[in-house]
Amino acid sequence: MNKSSTLSTLVTVVVSLLFGAVVVALLGHSPAEAYRELFRGAFWGRFNFGGTLERFVPLLLTALAFAVSSKVAVFNVGVEGELYLGAIAAAWVGAALTGVAAPIHIGLCLMAAMAVGGAWAAIPGALKAYWRVNEVCVTILANYVAIYITSYLVGYPLSAGTGVPQTAALAATARLARILPPSRANSGLFIALAALLVTWWIVHRSTWGYKMRAVGENAGYAEHVGIRSRVTMVWGMVFSGALGGMAGAIEVMGLYGYFLDGFSPGIAFDGMLAALIARNDIRLVPLLAFFLAALKAGSLGMERFTGIPKSLVDAIIAMFILLAAMEGLFLFRRGARGKEA
C-alpha cells in the first residue's frame, strides 16, 4: 500500500464517520456524545478495553489467514470453516487430555487446531493448484461442510449431554488466562501477536515466504526459476488454514472454555474484510483488525448509554468497507492502484 492509497483509506474513514454523525443527528441524538460513548465503550476501563482486545484476537488471526493465502494468489474464503474445525479440535484435546502441564496442554491444543485447520485448507489449495478449480467456490461450500461436521460432533459424539449443544468443559490446564477481568480478554492476545510476527517474518524474510510471494505474483516465473509452484501453493493454504484453526482454538480456550455449536457469527468474514481493506499488507492487517474490533466493542457502550442501536455502527462499518473497496473513489493521484490481491 503506498502513500496515496493510505490517504484514500483515511479519507474513507472520515467520510464514513461523518455519514454516521449525520444519521445520528437525524435520529435526534448528539453526534459528539455518540462518538464519545463509542470511544469510551472501546477503550475506557478494563472491561471495555478488554472487550476490544477479545474481539481483536480472532479478527487479527483470520485476517492474517486471508492475507497469507492471498500471497500465493488463493482467495481463501474458507477461514470460517477452518476456525470451526480448529475450535472443535482444541476443545477435544483440551477436554480429553488430563494431567498435563498447562504450557504443554495449551501447546497441544493449538497444534491440534492448526493441524486440522491446515489439513482442511489443503483440500481447496490442492484442487486449485493441480486442477485449477475455483477456490472461492470450493471454500464457500467447504465452510458449510465444516460447520456441519462440527455441529454433528458437538451434537453427538462429543456432546456434554446438556440441553445446549456444547462439548465438555476444557481442563483447567488448557484454559488461557484472563488478562483484564472482568472482560474475557485473555493471553491468547500474546499468542496472536506472536503469530503476527512469525507470519510477517516467514512471508517477508524467509526463503519459503519468498517462494510463496513469487508464486503469487507470477507462477510461471516461479516455475521457471525452479520453485515448485503447485506445492508452494498448497503449503501456503496449509499455513493460512493453520492460522484460521488457531483463531478457533483461542476462542474456545480463552473465551468459552468449551465448543458451542455455531459460536461464530461470521468472525472470519469480518477478518477477511479487514485483510481486504489492508490490501493483504501484513503490516496493516493488525491496524485494521484493531479498528474494526474497537468499533464493534464500542458500539455496545454507545447503545447502552445513548440508545443509538448498535446496528447503526455495523451499518457504518459496512459502508466504510464498501467505500474503501472502491479504489477509484478517492483517488488523488493517477496510477495509485496497486497489484490485485
Binding site: 478449480v133 461436521i149 481486504l276 473497496a325 479504489e327
Partner: protein, 310 residues
C-alpha cells in the same frame, strides 16, 4: 425403523422440497444472471434480506402485496445499482462489495426493524398481506392431490417458469448470446462492438429485480413475517446451486431441488432425533465434487490436446 422411514419419505416430501427450494431458486437465478457476465454476485443474501424487509414493511403499511412486491423489487434494483457502480465504475472487488452489502443489509434491516416497525428480533402482524396463493377448488376432494398440487404461493410456480424463461433468454436469444460473450471474453465482445460496461450494468440491475423478488417471496410467500437475518445463508446456497449448475438455469434448478430435498429430509430426521448433518452436507459435497471432476476432466483434455500438437 421402517415406520420412521415412512415418516421421512412420503408424498408430502414433494411439497416440502418445492417449498424449501424456491427461496434458493430465486437466489440462484439472481446469481446466474450476473455470473453469465462474469460477475460473482455474493451480495444476493443482502439484496434478499433488504427485499424481505421492504416487502413486509410496505405490505403492513399499505395492505397491498403488489405494492410490497414492487417496493422490494425497487430496493433490490437500487442495491444492485450501487453494487454495479462500485464494481464497474469504481473498480471495487465484487467479492468485497458483495460481502459489504450483506453486512450492510443485516445491520440496516435490524436498525430499521427497530426504528420503523418498533420491535427487535422478528415482526409479525395480522395486517401483513401475503402473496396470493393459487387455489384450485377441483383438487379439494383428494388429500394427496391437494398436498401435491394445491395452494401454492404465486411465486412457487412462477419461479419454475422463470427458470425456463431465463434458459431461453440466455441460450436462444441474441441478447443472451451477447451477454454470455461478455462473460466469456470481454475483450472479444468489446471488439465485436458489444458495450461490455453497459451490458454488465444492465444485467446487475436485472439481478437486483430477481433478488428483490426473492426477498419478497421469503417474507410474504414462504413465511409471513420478517425476522433478523431471515435469509440465513439461503443466498449463499443460491450461489452454491449456481456453481452446481455451472451457471445454467435448468441445471442450477436441479441443484436447488437437491438443496430443498436434503433440507426437508434433514429437518424431518432431526424431529426424529437422528443426526441430520450428513444429509444436509450432501449438496455442498456434491457441488465440490462436481466442480473438481469437471475441472479435472477439462485439464486432462487440455493435456491431451497439447501433447497432440507437439
Amino acid at each position: 425403523m421402517f415406520d420412521d422411514l415412512s415418516l421421512v419419505f412420503n408424498y408430502t416430501l414433494f411439497r416440502a422440497t418445492l417449498r424449501a427450494s424456491t427461496p434458493i431458486l430465486y437466489a440462484t437465478l439472481t446469481c446466474i444472471l450476473t455470473q453469465q457476465a462474469d460477475i460473482l454476485n455474493v451480495g444476493v443474501e443482502g439484496i434478499m434480506l433488504c427485499g424481505a424487509f421492504t416487502a413486509v414493511a410496505v405490505s403492513y403499511f399499505s395492505g397491498s402485496w403488489l405494492l410490497a412486491l414492487l417496493a422490494a423489487v425497487a430496493v433490490g434494483t437500487v442495491i444492485a445499482a450501487v453494487m454495479a457502480l462500485a464494481h464497474l465504475r469504481y473498480k471495487a472487488d465484487i467479492f468485497v462489495v458483495g460481502m459489504a452489502v450483506n453486512m450492510l443489509a443485516l445491520a440496516l434491516t435490524r436498525f430499521l426493524l427497530q426504528k420503523v416497525l418498533g420491535t427487535s428480533g422478528s415482526f409479525y402482524d395480522r395486517a401483513i398481506v401475503p402473496l396470493p396463493r393459487i387455489h384450485l377448488a377441483l383438487l379439494d376432494g383428494n388429500e394427496v392431490l391437494r398436498s401435491l398440487f394445491n395452494d401454492y404461493s404465486l411465486f412457487e410456480p412462477l419461479g419454475i417458469l422463470l427458470v425456463f424463461f431465463l434458459s431461453w433468454l440466455l441460450y436462444r436469444t441474441v441478447w443472451g448470446l451477447r451477454l454470455r460473450s461478455v462473460g466469456l471474453n470481454p475483450l472479444a465482445a468489446e471488439t465485436a462492438g458489444i458495450p461490455v460496461f453497459r451490458r454488465k450494468f444492465e444485467v446487475m440491475l436485472y439481478s437486483g429485480v430477481v433478488g428483490g423478488m426473492a426477498g419478497a417471496y421469503l417474507s410474504l410467500g414462504y413465511s409471513r413475517l420478517f425476522a433478523e437475518n431471515m435469509t440465513n445463508g439461503r443466498g449463499f446456497m443460491g450461489v452454491a446451486a449456481m456453481f452446481f449448475g455451472g451457471g445454467d438455469p435448468i441445471r442450477s434448478w436441479i441443484g436447488c431441488l437437491i438443496f430443498g430435498f436434503t433440507d426437508s429430509i434433514g429437518s424431518r430426521l432431526q424431529s426424529l432425533g437422528l443426526p441430520p448433518q450428513f444429509i444436509l452436507m450432501i449438496p455442498y459435497v456434491a457441488t465440490i465434487s462436481i466442480l473438481a471432476l469437471a475441472m479435472g476432466r477439462k485439464m486432462a483434455a487440455q493435456r491431451r490436446a497439447r501433447s497432440a500438437l507437439k
